[in-house]
């Protein structure tokens, strides 16, 4: 049971006295403060002789009330007087929150800011890509500056470590495509075409696309968070002062790793998806497992494989560049790291899908349909 500060009002000779009793502490003031604020008649005297303890919050509440009423204080203890004097000296009228613009001004301003930021983002991204390309040719001219060990480490992180999750995902996607495709194709008695469906769609589209999305979520976000945290702890600045270019040391190995690993991961994904399809073919359609695989070689044109393998490094580049770029943009506080990481993933997936649409039309037009 908490003891609350209380007050009583006495009237004597036309002047009002408020007598406050109990502990005047932050823990006990919660009820008294709104009561004092609600008082309307002017009070001439505040009696503190029944107050047992006082801290700065209690002193503030009384001090505010006394000032608002221009009242005099009687019966205050030594400590209460000192504290009231302290809080009176320290009072200020500063804003606690950042002032916010009214709704009708805020929304257009916010929209405008977003649009400007978007264009700045695109512009910055091209600038960053340019810096990466310059660094790339710089390391070709001075191979000694190339971070071979970092590249291998990143290749392991991006490539080898993500094999299990990409394998599982691809296997399941292969199963879904084969099973759903078979149900529809059976209506035309064309269930053997399931082989064409699975083989072509995985090698041409899904294998690489799903892998790019997975790599964006797994590695693109990690790039942004790693580099962003290093920016916050001033590691990136420290590198610059030692004469190590952060683009060469941090960004280039990550981008090269993604560009090199994406085709391998995409191919792996396609193969596992086809195996998933073959399992369903065996179980549901009665096509023997090995026959399914043999049919793949007959029905899938070689250029489907090329389409996938051409797209893969480009997607890897997009994922890595947006991850590293967002990471390098981090400044200020920890929240920014999270924000930039999210942005890196969203940006990467968006651009991968948009570009994939262009690739689809392009390759059909040049006769790789």
């Amino acid at each position: 049971m908490r003891e609350w500060a209380e007050h009583s009002i006495h009237e004597a000779g036309g002047s009002l006295t408020v007598a406050i009793s109990g502990p005047l502490r932050v823990s006990s003031i919660g009820k008294l403060d709104p009561q004092l604020r609600a008082m309307e008649e002017p009070v001439q005297t505040v009696d503190l002789s029944e107050v047992t303890e006082v801290d700065t919050v209690g002193a503030w509440v009384v001090q505010r009330f006394v000032e608002a009423n221009n009242a005099t204080v009687v019966g205050a203890s030594e400590q209460a007087r000192v504290l009231m004097e302290s809080v009176r000296e320290a009072q200020s009228s500063a804003d606690v929150k950042r002032p916010r613009l009214p709704f009708f001004t805020r929304v257009p301003e916010f929209t405008g800011e977003k649009v400007v930021h978007w264009f700045q983002g695109v512009y910055g991204m091209f600038g960053f890509l340019g810096a990466v390309i310059i660094a790339f040719f710089g390391t070709i001219r001075h191979p000694g500056r190339f971070r071979g060990l970092a590249l291998v480490r990143q290749m392991e992180m991006v490539g080898v470590s993500s094999l299990p999750i990409i394998g599982l995902m691809s296997f399941l996607i292969g199963i879904v495509i084969a099973q759903q495709g078979a149900v529809q194709l059976q209506q035309f008695g064309a269930e053997t075409l399931t082989v064409n469906l699975v083989g072509r769609i995985t090698l041409r589209e899904l294998g690489v696309l799903m892998t790019a999305i997975m790599v964006a979520g797994r590695s693109g976000s990690a790039f942004a968070a790693q580099i962003g945290t290093m920016k916050l702890t001033e590691e990136v600045d420290a590198m610059r002062t030692i004469g190590v270019a952060p683009i060469e040391a941090l960004v280039l190995p990550r981008i090269l790793a993604a560009v090199l690993m994406m085709p391998l991961l995409g191919f792996f994904s396609s193969v596992v998806a086809i195996i998933g399809g073959a399992v369903i073919g065996d179980v549901m359609l009665g096509i023997p497992f090995l026959t399914f695989l043999a049919r793949i070689q007959e029905v899938v044109p070689l250029h489907d494989f090329y389409v996938g393998m051409v797209k893969a490094p480009v997607f890897g580049l997009i994922v890595a560049v947006s991850g590293c770029h967002q990471g390098m943009l981090v400044k200020g506080n920890a929240e920014e790291v999270g924000l930039r990481t999210t942005q890196a993933v969203v940006q990467a997936i968006f651009m991968v899908i948009v570009l994939d649409a262009f690739f689809a039309v392009f390759f059909t037009e040049i006769g790789w349909g």
Binding site: D33, D55, L83, S86, K97
Partner: protein
């Protein structure tokens, strides 16, 4: 919230002022990280109303000791009593009644980066006393910001917009939010320029005197030790090798203490302090030059 919620509010623990003589009592403490032992058979008592300076070489576990006292680090053995309650084995609910009676200033300020300075100050108030109105919370935050030694207009700044020294002051303002009886300061003057450090020292002393605080102050700053500490505890060899005023410590003859207080920097700090005494800017005999301000 304009209307108090009594049912909820009354579940909160009682916060009577601690009247015993030792707000912090540590007995036979042992902490370790894996193989590395930080403290062994460590005993320390902090007296009510004093500013206790805690010194020791790097890696002697000053910050670990503070983290153990405030319950962030669970010791292997020993007891730590804060306000008469053993916090090493207490349930989280039991410690709440202790938590709202101390304030902690971490080394880097540890401000919440998404809130303004004033909102940072309001966090502990809102957490423990939801019945306080927003109006009162804003007023409290404003004067605490000034108490912390910040200019008024720093109230609505975000931590990333403040310098290192201002962040410490903002951290101090937040540590003072609940009007604590016990204040923990972890290297408050580290990284501050000498003028700012001296001001921070004055601020600490003034607040401690005015609000009747007990201060547990970790520091490397010899000026701070001479200027504002009532007693100094020295950490070495995994334990507290001496507690007392600087003259008392020197009598103990421990080699590390000798080296620490007789080094050139210590002599310089002592000289500054003596000069301040001569000029009358420091109160003669109040702190370290006297054998014991508490008279025990």
């Amino acid at each position: 919230m304009s209307t108090p919620a009594p049912a909820e509010a009354e579940d909160l623990p009682e916060t009577e002022r601690f009247e015993g003589e030792y707000p912090i009592r540590i007995h036979d403490l042992r902490t370790s990280f894996g193989e590395q032992v930080v403290h062994e058979h460590l005993d320390l008592e902090v007296r009510r109303g004093e500013i206790l300076g805690v010194v020791g070489g790097s890696g002697t576990g000053k910050s670990v000791l503070m983290r153990a006292i405030i319950g962030l680090q669970v010791p292997d053995e020993g007891t730590i009593e804060v306000f008469g309650q053993d916090i090493t084995r207490a349930e989280p609910d039991e410690v709440i009644g202790v938590r709202n009676r101390w304030g902690v200033l971490f080394q880097g300020g540890a401000l919440f980066s998404t809130l303004t300075v004033a909102e940072n100050v309001q966090v502990p108030l809102k957490q423990f006393y939801p019945e306080l109105s927003q109006e009162l919370l804003d007023e409290i935050a404003r004067y605490k910001v000034v108490f912390g030694g910040l200019p008024e207009d720093a109230a609505n700044k975000y931590p990333s917009e403040l310098s290192g020294g201002m962040r410490k002051r903002a951290g101090l303002a937040r540590a003072l939010a609940l009007d604590p009886e016990l204040l923990f300061l972890d290297e408050p003057t580290a990284g501050l320029d000498p003028i700012a450090a001296a001001k921070f020292d004055d601020l600490t002393r003034e607040l401690a005197d005015r609000l009747g605080l007990t201060v547990f102050l970790i520091t490397h700053d010899l000026d701070t030790l001479y200027a504002i500490c009532d007693r100094v505890a020295v950490l070495a060899d995994h334990k507290v090798v001496g507690v007392g005023t600087i003259p008392e410590l020197l009598e103990s003859g421990h080699p590390w203490i000798e080296e620490y207080f007789n080094g050139p920097r210590a002599r310089a700090a002592q000289g500054t302090h003596k000069a301040a005494l001569a000029k009358g800017t420091a109160e003669a005999g109040k702190y370290l030059d006297n054998t014991d301000p508490q008279g025990s």
